[in-house]
Amino acid sequence: MDRSKIYALLVPIVSVIIALLIASIVIIIIGKNPLTAYRIMLEGAFGGAEQLANTIIKMTPLILTGLAVGFGFRAGVFNIGAEGQMTIGALMGAIVAMNIGGVPSVIAIPLSIIVGMLAGAFWASIAGFLKAFTGAHEVISTIMLNWIAANFASFMVTGPLAVGSGTPKSPEIAEAAKLPVVLKVQATELSIGIFIAVIVAVVMYVFIEKTTTGYELKGVGFNPYAAEYGGISIRKSIIMTMAISGALAGMAGIVDLLGVPPHRFVGELTGGRGFDGITIALIGRNNPIGIIFAALLIAALRTGSNAMQIRAQIPNDIVSIIQGIVIFLVAAERIVTTLIYLKGRKGVTTA
């Protein structure tokens, strides 16, 4: 394994360790024991079937939004709009899933997911077309599309789709469209969603690394001038990248909705998980397999932090601190590579 590959593994791991160390100082300052805190956090995330199921449920859509953003990065597009694409994907997929009663699951589920993906792809393609034909920067246009998506969704659940009272919500989806449950612990239902997400990650890996289209899209991401010289259409690549990225984000939304109770479209469905995709893509180094582990990390921090808050009275904001430091260190990777390098050198001289 060459040096860059070792660093690709080491940098995120070392970053997490440093982040945990810094957070433990904060925990000490608020008068708690960091070791206890982390033990409770670990137990909260992995300590039993229910905890594990919760972590995996949280992890599923994060893999998909991570893939959405990470794939965009690989092809030179900064899709910051996974949030909006996830919303639109979940909303459109849910409309299909609500009205598909009487159809067997083998049709209802794929159909809902495909509609969700197409909706996400369509939403992202708007930004893709704008970038390809007018040069509008995708960061600006996808952020704007996020707002449009959020407000459109809230209009739908307070208006045309609204049912009941209290929190705005849509009707529940048809029974046939719910993802099969593989594990049920008390109120926690773990669906097959996680398998879908992992399979998609593997497919994306093969797509990026083994196909000619992957070769072209990565080439455009690295050096659009050389790609153009090599006969690759830049416009086509940008639009295709955006569409695929949006399809993955849309899938995150609809798979979550089909797999997790209450199986309804609610206003704050995405809960920032589209933006989490950016974090996860960064930590996972835009590598689909790395993204699976990055999603696991973030999900475990989230479930673990709830346990920490309840059992050790440590505010779960600590997790935001940890997450922030990890992103900071991974993004400014030279800090960490320098630390690894210095440590390695010190090891040599003292040996």
Partner: protein, 527 residues
């Protein structure tokens, strides 16, 4: 100069004395115990191939790097530079190959930038009158004619270079380092630069001249230091040496300074360009009504100063830029405004002028770079998947045939040296898999390459010619145009100033045509 001499050297007569300089980088020793001496008031050439360590050595003299070992003396006094600021204070100035000027400021504003004369309360205001005056004085003193009030973007390259020289003189430099200063100049502008260098020398300035053009070394310098592979291989007085000896010291073996070209009768017309008009990125006409043809087994050279429409011409022919009007045909097939892919698959391939911008994807390994543009063709792709076995087999074959070093197809394109990057591009564009090229458009094939690599690329181009391939060669290097071309078109402001045969005219005459004189005028002047 041998070791004992070095120890007893009288440092006070030396403008620059670098003793025992060693600089290591993680994977290479860039400078290995270098001794480098420049006498006060001389023009001293520093020559060597790319990667020989010239730039590393000069960057240490300019304070950009700190030596791992060794000492630097300026006018006999020891200095330890912590940064360029220290070097500038010690009287060292550097004219970089790529000018560092602000395009939308005037000449005088550029010269004083960073050390502006000031006036008013708390020195709040820039004294533009004073700066204009001192720039005028400097320019008069050293014969550096510039238009002090012109914007940088409006003045020619030769004048921009004079602005760079004024900039370092304004900061009080006594030792001037020139990094390949003639690379961007016409022969006439080079002549003017040499005049300036002589004036600077008469005024007591010391000049270090980095170059790989040996005729320039012979023309202007007093002494030469030759470097190879991080070591000094010789230091001689210019009058005691000749280009052949210098070339051998640089490369470490006998080299052909001029390639042998066999006489050859060109065959039928392959590429035909008629009344072509092309616009540049600012939508200005850059190629104006250009017509020419390239025949089988013929090298058609296009001479001209950079930026006269050659880039746009080649881009239009290869499908990277729109042709506004006119036609481009290859063996009777219309290629006008066809896609880059269509054109490539019709048998017209392209060695681009900027290998890092267009020719390579630095982050891709060599084997991926070698299929760029062929990646959808058999045998490299089937059913939408890349056939890695075939790709790597092809890559190993090209790396062997074109002697790419290191012989490692996994190494990233960006990690190869310039010469080896060029070999990858040339190997890809000339390979007959999946189809045999009929015409190759070649731009600046040897830019930034060392003598050994240039020799290899030139031989390869002549081999293609021998095989009957038609070659369109654009180059800013007149020597290259002269030694390779069968016919030469001279380009000026997007127009062809005339077609000449290489043995019909001399360098100066072509230089005049490159500056906008027609062939008729030039011939008439010859009388």
């Amino acid at each position: 100069m041998d070791a004992t001499n070095v120890k007893n050297l009288d440092l006070s007569g030396m403008a620059v004395a670098m003793k025992g300089i060693t600089k290591r980088f993680p994977s290479v020793i860039a400078n290995d115990n270098i001794d480098f001496f420049v006498k006060k008031g001389e023009i001293h050439a520093l020559v060597g191939e790319n990667g020989a360590g010239k730039s590393t050595l000069m960057n240490q003299l300019y304070g950009l790097y700190t030596p791992d070992e060794g000492e630097i003396y300026i006018n006999g006094e020891r200095f330890i530079f912590k940064g360029p600021r220290d070097a500038i204070d010690a009287g060292i100035g550097m004219v970089h190959q790529h000018f560092m000027l602000v395009d939308n400021q005037t000449v005088s504003e550029n010269v004083v930038l960073g050390s502006e004369p000031r006036r008013g309360p708390f020195n709040l205001f820039i004294d533009s009158g004073k700066s204009r005056k001192s720039v005028l004085e400097l320019s008069k003193k050293y014969g550096l004619s510039v238009d002090v009030d012109a914007m940088i973007e409006d003045i020619p390259v030769g004048m921009q270079q004079r602005v760079e020289i004024l900039k370092i003189l304004y900061r009080g430099a006594n030792i001037l380092i020139f990094d390949e200063p003639t690379a961007v100049l016409t022969p006439q502008e080079t002549g003017e630069l040499f005049k300036i260098l002589r004036v600077l020398k008469e005024n007591g300035k010391t000049i270090i001249f980095i170059t790989h053009k040996l005729n320039e070394v012979m023309a202007i310098t007093d002494r030469v230091t030759v470097m190879r592979l991080g070591k000094v291989t010789g230091q001689v007085d210019t009058k005691d040496t000749n280009p052949r000896q210098l070339a051998n010291m640089m490369v470490g073996r006998e080299v052909l300074l001029r390639v042998e070209k066999e006489a050859r009768k060109p065959g039928k017309t392959l590429l035909e360009v008629k009344n072509l008009h092309v616009k540049d990125n600012r939508k200005l006409d850059t190629v104006k009504n250009v017509s020419f043809s390239v025949r089988e087994g013929e090298i058609l050279g296009i001479a001209g100063v950079a930026g006269n429409g050659q880039t746009e011409l080649i881009e239009a022919i290869t499908g990277l830029r729109k042709a506004e009007s006119g036609s481009i045909t290859l063996m009777g097939k219309d290629l006008t405004n066809k896609s880059a892919l269509d054109i490539r698959e019709s048998g017209l391939t392209h060695i681009p002028e900027d290998r890092l911008k267009r020719g390579l994807i630095s982050q891709y390994p060599v084997y991926y770079n070698l299929i760029l543009g062929k990646h959808n063709d058999k045998p490299f792709a089937s059913e939408g998947f890349i056939d890695m076995k075939e790709v790597k087999k092809f890559a190993r074959y090209i790396v062997d045939t074109f002697d790419v070093r290191p012989k490692d197809i996994e190494i990233l394109g960006g990690n190869l040296s310039g010469g080896n990057q060029q070999k990858v591009v040339v190997g890809r564009e000339l390979s007959t898999i999946p189809i045999e090229p009929k015409v190759v458009a070649i731009s600046q094939p040897t830019r930034g390459l060392d003598i050994g690599a240039i020799e290899f690329i030139h031989k390869t181009i002549l081999n293609m010619r021998a095989k009957g391939i038609g070659i369109l060669l654009v180059s800013m290097e007149l020597d290259e145009i002269f030694s390779l071309s069968d016919r030469i078109l001279v380009f000026y402001e997007g127009k062809i100033m005339g077609e000449v045969l290489p043995d019909e005219v001399n360098r100066e005459e072509i230089g005049l045509m490159m500056a906008g004189h027609s062939k008729a005028e030039v011939v008439k002047e010859r009388g």
